[in-house]
Amino acid sequence: MKAPPPIFNGILAVFALSFMVLAMAPALQLDGLQPKVDEDLGDIYPIDVSGVQAEGRAVYVSQGCVACHTEQVRDASEGSDLGRGWGARRTVARDYIYEMPVLLGYMRFGPDLANIGTRKDADNADKYSVAWHYMHLYNPQATSPGTNMPSYKFLFEKRKIAGQMDEDALKLPAGEVPEGYQIVPSAQARQLVAYLTGLDHSHPLPEAGPNIQPPKPGVSGGAAK
């Protein structure tokens, strides 16, 4: 008995089916999406980030932030993402057309970051500011006691204070830095924080449904954490 050709043909067919449905179909259906343009207002969304924010995205990739953080907000019917104030609406394919690489993520040890740039905390106006992000990266326990986020101290530099202090120098408790020195964010930390504070997927899009109001602060002990 010679090789039953059905094996080879079947193996080919099985793979072709899988490839067509789950690789080619999304490429054909979703690859040509165009930004939403409102000609009356001169408003285009999404727009491609550039410069320091694009560099910050590369830092986000190279530090492996996706291992614990997602950048996708699910609909209210799929979970409590919106209830937590992680966004004003669900995210849709069009939100990501310029993101290269796209950082949807797969795991949530920490909160979703799709709209971290717009997030506010009613109890702590300083939270999610640039200075807060620097401190959070340098020593997560200082801003979020009990977290298991690792410290990214290696993204910061110890520098001698020459004249004035750097405006982004960390405000650390006395004794943590030797006299006459300061801790300043490296270029990578600045890029990363520029990327994070620019993250915003909340511009209205018709396919994502109407935007909701963020949950009232105070009811749940403050907004999203």
């Binding site: 008995m1 090789a3 094996i7 080879f8 193996i11 080919l12 793979f15 089916l17 899988s18 490839f19 449905v21 789950l22 690789a23 999304p26 490429a27 259906q29 979703l30 690859d31 999406l33 990739v61 190279s62 530090q63 492996g64 291992a67 614990c68 996708q72 699910r74 799929e78 979970g79 409590s80 937590r84 394919a93 990501y96 310029y98 993101e99 290269m100 690489p101 796209v102 949807l104 993520g105 797969y106 795991m107 949530r108 040890f109 920490g110 909160p111 997560p140 979020s144 009990g146 977290t147 298991n148 986020m149 690792p150 410290s151 990214y152 101290k153 290696f154 749940s220 403050g222 954490k225």
Partner: protein
């Protein structure tokens, strides 16, 4: 070693069929020794590395300061390094070694040009090393199991394409006769992986593919790898080893046929469950969920087939290491598939998406099913290649209990932690529990005990794998027992089937 099979030392007429068969087997094993042992040795080295890194990852989840001062040891880099080593360093080479040996045995082919698999094995391991170093240095892609940069993935592709082509050549030159079930699975794996790997890497790396399409392709790839390589090679090995050791044919050929094709067809459509609720049109995840539910067909048929084959010989689990490990693998496959299917149903998915639950079902398939099955295969194959028997039944027993309980505990803790994580994420306000708001930190505090238990499981695994590696090294140095009798947990008494 291009020995034709029909050149026995004495004229064939003077030999019995059994003697000719014995010579055939020795010739095949002789020709397979170097490549298979090479794949097994490198695989086990990577397994030790994966186990240590997995342990460090697990420690970092409950003790973030642990080894926290170096960028290459942050969780974000160690976790992808761990999964990639487990899959590409350990899993694929172990599977390749097993698949080519069983293929040679089933096709009755003496391996010609043994240098091809060895060269490709060397390429493969260089590729994995380059990839892991790149990931630790931060040069990676943010897609699960596609983190390796282009330099490494090209090497991996070339190496596997060589092996796959060579496996298919072996299949085409087989002795005429029935094509056994395991061969379907292995030939599938020889074909599928290079296609899958090449098309995924090309599309994800292409500047002409944009946005979420990358994520869809990465999800398609990661799921395809689980089914088209790991499940195929693992099930192929189970279909070979269990009937071989208990000395009985497989219960039903037709069930095996149904189980094979239904699994391969439906599994290829399940990739998008990873994005249920994600930024995709809803039909993708609906289709994947439907395909997963249809997978109950192959789960049922393969399960029934293997368990019915074992039915009258369950006592072999107490005697034969190969059967005990592969049965653990079989049960883990059934449980893993059922958990994957249940976890994908929308109501369950809402509670488990983005949690450790998915790590749990991944480990059920890669670790509890595939790794344990590969251990079983090694316990069967290695003595036939090195010409001596395993040194000590107690070592094997300890290895089984250590790895069995270690993996079981780790996965159980992952699944419970995932369920808890999902529930607290979805129920942010729990005044009755005395907490006004469950943010990331409060959720973490709830699952802390399960994270700690995982580190405990990792310590068990380190011990068990280290023991197995020492045992394997002894076999490599020919320090095993010289007797022709296999090393069993308990001797088989009169009247029982000889393994």
């Amino acid at each position: 070693m291009p020995e034709p099979l029909t050149t026995p030392a004495a004229p064939a007429a003077e030999m019995t069929a059994a003697e000719i068969e014995w010579i055939d087997r020795s010739l095949i094993d002789e020709s397979m020794r170097m490549p298979v042992m090479f794949f097994f040795s490198t695989a086990l080295t990577w397994l030790l590395a994966a186990t240590v890194i997995g342990f460090i990852c697990s420690m970092k989840l409950h003790d973030p300061g642990f080894l926290g001062d170096w960028s290459f040891l942050t969780y974000g880099r160690l976790w992808p390094a761990y999964t990639n080593i487990l899959v590409y360093g350990w899993g694929l080479p172990a599977g390749i070694g097993t698949a080519i040996w069983i293929t040679a045995r089933l096709c009755r082919v003496v391996l010609k040009s043994a240098w091809i698999p060895i060269i490709s094995g060397i390429f493969w391991n260089i590729g994995v090393t380059v990839g892991v170093i790149a990931v630790l240095a931060g040069n990676m892609q943010p897609y699960e199991l596609l983190e390796f940069p282009r330099q490494a993935s090209v090497l991996l592709f070339i190496a596997y394409a060589l092996i796959g082509a060579w496996g298919v050549v072996m299949f085409n030159n087989r002795r005429p006769g029935h094509v056994y079930i395991s061969l379907w699975y292995f030939v599938g794996a020889f074909f599928w992986f290079p296609w899958l790997y090449a098309s995924a890497n090309l599309m994800v790396g292409s500047p002409h593919v944009h946005g979420v399409v990358h994520a869809a392709i990465a999800a398609w790839y990661a799921q395809g790898l689980l089914g088209y390589f790991f499940a195929s090679v693992g099930l192929g090995a189970i279909y070979y080893l269990i009937p071989k050791v208990i000395g009985k044919p497989v219960h039903s050929y037709n069930l095996a046929l149904l189980g094979f094709w239904s699994f391969e067809i439906f599994w290829g459509l399940t990739g998008m469950v990873k994005f249920t609720g994600g930024p995709f049109p809803v039909w993708y995840s609906s289709l994947s969920i439907a395909a997963l539910i249809l997978l109950l067909i192959p789960v049922g048929t393969v399960g029934v087939n293997i368990l019915m084959t074992m039915k009258d010989d369950t006592r072999m689990v107490y005697h034969s290491p190969a059967v005990r490990f592969t049965m653990y693998g079989t049960v883990a496959w059934l449980v893993g598939m059922v958990i994957t299917i249940l976890g994908s149903v929308r109501e369950m998915d809402q509670e488990t998406h983005f949690t450790q639950f998915s790590a749990g079902s991944f480990h059920l398939l890669i670790y509890a099913f595939f790794t344990m099955t590969m251990f079983g295969a090694m316990y069967y194959i290695v003595p036939r290649l090195v010409g001596c028997e395993w040194l000590s039944a107690s070592f094997i027993r300890l290895h089984f209990w250590g790895s069995g309980y270690g993996i079981g505990l780790m996965i159980l803790m992952m699944i419970i932690a995932g369920a808890a994580q999902g529930w607290y994420w979805n129920n942010p306000s729990q005044v009755s529990l005395g907490v006004k708001y469950f943010g990331a930190i409060e959720v973490l505090a709830e699952i802390m005990p399960y994270l700690r238990a995982q580190s405990l499981a990792w310590i068990l695994l380190i011990g068990a794998h280290l023991l197995f590696c020492i045992h394997f090294l002894a076999m490599l140095l020919r320090l095993g027992q010289p007797s022709g009798e296999p090393t069993l947990f308990a001797p088989i008494t009169e009247g029982e089937q000889h393994p």
